[in-house]
């Protein structure tokens, strides 16, 4: 898919976006609170983004990294049995209490909003956070649900049926954003 795609953002640009998102998160959660707020990455591409953001947040605050969890939304999809191929279930690992703490949900690309709808259902089955914020690297439009992100790396206007994907290097330390026209 990479080879046929158009490069939208190289790894430097992705790094800058994440840095700006971390700035915005730290600004919203001033001293004392951020140690409390937790990051939850949606499987699969939201997970390395959550880890990356956690490192960025830590470097700004010079304290401990915020807790990072992973969330798989397969059991909450609205299309079980409607698609021929459903992906493998990946690990959900929320090994901390999310009651009464702010949760920042992280995904790579926001499109229809259906994944986020499922993630909200899933998260609230684990506890009752004081608030849930959404951070996405790319908001590509085409929303089908009334869902908007609070932190956005970049908004991309994609014509027609193009597919925006975030491609990771092997180490998970380096990502590019690619537009594939299918």
């Amino acid at each position: 898919m990479t080879s046929q795609g158009t490069l939208l953002f190289d790894s430097g640009a992705v790094g800058t976006m994440l840095s700006q998102m971390a700035d915005a998160i730290v600004a919203d959660f001033p001293s004392g609170d951020i140690g409390n707020a937790v990051l939850i990455g949606i499987q699969t591409n939201g997970v390395p983004l959550a880890r990356w953001l956690a490192r960025e947040i830590e470097s700004r605050r010079g304290g401990a990294e915020p807790s990072v969890g992973t969330l798989d939304i397969s059991m909450y999809r609205d299309d079980i049995g409607k698609r021929l191929v459903l992906g493998r279930i990946h690990e959900t690992d929320i090994s901390f209490d999310i009651d009464d703490v702010p949760v920042i949900l992280i995904d790579d690309v926001l499109r229809t909003g259906r994944t986020i709808r499922a993630a909200l259902d899933a998260i609230t089955d684990y506890g009752r956070p004081s608030m849930i914020k959404l951070a996405v690297l790319i908001d590509r439009g085409g929303h089908e649900f009334p869902i908007r992100a609070d932190y956005i790396g970049s908004s991309v206007d994609v014509e027609g049926g193009g597919f925006v994907s975030v491609e990771w290097s092997g180490s998970g330390e380096d990502a590019t954003v690619v537009l594939a026209t299918s």
Partner: protein, 307 residues
Amino acid sequence: MTVWRRKDLLSLYDLDADEIRLILDTAAEFKKVSERRLKKVPVLRGKTVVNFFVEPSTRTRTSFELAEQRLSADIINIAAVGSSLSKGETLLDTVKNIEALQADIIVMRHSAAGAHNFIASHLKCGVVNAGDGAHSHPTQALLDIFTIIEKKGSVEGLNVSIIGDIRHSRVARSDIWGLIKLGANVTIAGPSTLLPKEFEKIGVKVVDNLEAALEDADVVNLLRIQHERQKVSYFPSVNEYANIFGLNENTAKYLKKDAIIMHPGPINRGVELASSLADGPRSVILEQVTNGLAVRMAVLYLISTVE
């Protein structure tokens, strides 16, 4: 990537190793659901599952039923007694009627080997085999393998001994198929009258004494003598069986220190397994029951993803 494409789970014999691993990996995530404060997910919301147990069952039916409830399904239970089968209706008519009620999945136990393959080929809805005669009990084997992997990390290269009434055991058959596909070394042991030699053809070691089955085993799975399936006497007495093939404090000395002891239940305490071992630190019998729930949730989920 392995993709699940089956509307039915009939036997592990049908599955390849990757499909078995997909079920087990999926089960690991469903196990966590049961460990949450809120133990329910909307996977089968709006779907109807019919538990049709033509042969009696307590633990398997309870496990399926709880799995279905945790997946938010609507559930109907039908037992053979009181169903139209006792009024002379054919099996196919009964299940077609169940399907006509818009059932999405039928979980069935039946005393006839192959009953599930027969109905699955006539139905659009999914069919899960919860045991057919002495033939197959795939979810039991899956929970056994899941438990072994949880305790030992992997089944590949492990020595697994299955001891007891192999001839009448659908659990043994399913375990053997699943374990062999995943690369375990399987040994079966029991009175020679209850020990089908044909398993040697697929690489199973067949031994007729307990010591040979225990000495290298990483896992021992003990089976109950299924008196209800035995039309003739296969060995002189239960006492003699217990003396020769029972695992007790005396015979357990042949076992490796880290071997685990499994049993699909119900246990005949003091016959195939002594109480001190069934309740001892090497026993994983109750963990098998817990894992059965996760495995059945995974199977129902995977089947429900296929239109």
